[in-house]
């Protein structure tokens, strides 16, 4: 009995000091891996991958557009898990992670929309089309903005966390709609060509830089998530110290 079972990592990370210690260990290796992945991915995107037989050189937009779409969905899926962590498990770091992730997800969604527009104009002849895929991604962007706004609107972090968690879980309905929109409705957007039954339809010479850019985006996501979570923890500590100082001053005055 002298050797009590070590708590699981996710339980140990409930302690901000344990989270900060792990984050400090991981941050620089992640930064270096992220820069290396971007360097290799961008080199592959411009120099080793061929032009497409139909789209020509314009296909090079794919290497920044498609990974941005992956990360937009991945970030939201992670936020949905965090929302469950807040509502069901009451994990103290779940809402910190969720708050830190929302602007990152919004940025990736915005990149997806803008680069998609730059790709659509020469290929489809239009900057924008109200089809199912484009519209559902725009709705995802608006949900991200709504979540960020809700965090700012509620002062009490506990109440804010619960409200945001509920909104996040409601918004998660949009994820399968985005993924399957190209199958369920007639859209200008092409059907899935990487994550599909039967394997990717893209040649390896294009798939490799695409995956490397996806890895670079993913590593950047983790770097930014760590930095933003550390910032949020500091801001909460600042808030507590200010309240304690005000309380102390009020007692000294009264």
């Amino acid at each position: 009995m002298e050797n009590a079972a070590k708590p699981a990592l996710w339980m140990r990370l409930a302690n901000p000091a344990a989270f900060n210690a792990l984050a400090d260990k991981l941050l620089w290796p992640l930064v270096i891996a992220c820069l290396a992945a971007f360097a290799y991915g961008l080199y592959g995107s411009f120099f080793t991958s061929p032009a497409d037989y139909q789209q020509g050189e314009t296909v090079r937009i794919m290497y920044i557009h498609v990974p941005a779409a992956w990360l937009a969905l991945f970030t939201y899926a992670g936020m949905s898990v965090s929302a469950l962590g807040t509502l069901v498990f009451r994990h103290p770091m779940a809402d910190v992670a969720q708050k830190a992730a929302a602007p990152i997800g919004a940025a990736f969604t915005l990149i997806c929309l803008i680069t998609g527009s730059f790709w659509g104009k020469p290929m489809w002849g239009t900057w924008w089309e109200w089809d199912a895929r484009l519209t559902s991604v725009l709705i995802l962007f608006l949900i991200y903005l709504g979540i960020i706004a809700l965090w700012r609107a509620i002062d009490d972090p506990l109440r804010g966390a619960r409200a945001v968690a509920i909104l996040t879980l409601v918004g998660a309905v949009n994820l399968p709609i985005i993924k399957f929109s190209v199958d369920w409705w007639y859209t200008l957007h092409q059907p899935a060509s990487v994550f599909r039954m039967g394997g990717p339809t893209i040649h390896k010479s294009m798939l490799t830089p695409l995956f490397v850019m996806g890895l670079a985006y993913l590593l950047l996501y983790f770097v930014l998530l760590i930095i933003r979570m550390k910032t949020e923890l500091m801001n909460r500590r600042i808030e507590r110290l200010r309240i304690a100082a005000a309380d102390h001053a009020a007692r000294a005055g009264g």
Partner: protein
């Protein structure tokens, strides 16, 4: 980069600007919080 080179360049620039702004904003917010926290901790211990 062919006849659509401007669209390719614009896409990469837009991506760089958005990601650069996000990284910069995250770093500045982190620095500001660290500075404020250090100041408050110092006041508290004084």
């Amino acid at each position: 980069m062919g006849q659509h080179g401007a669209f390719i360049v614009a896409s990469y620039i837009a991506t760089g600007v958005i990601l650069g702004a996000l990284v910069l904003a995250s770093l500045l917010a982190n620095r500001a919080a660290a500075r404020t926290l250090a100041m408050l901790e110092k006041e508290r211990s004084a």
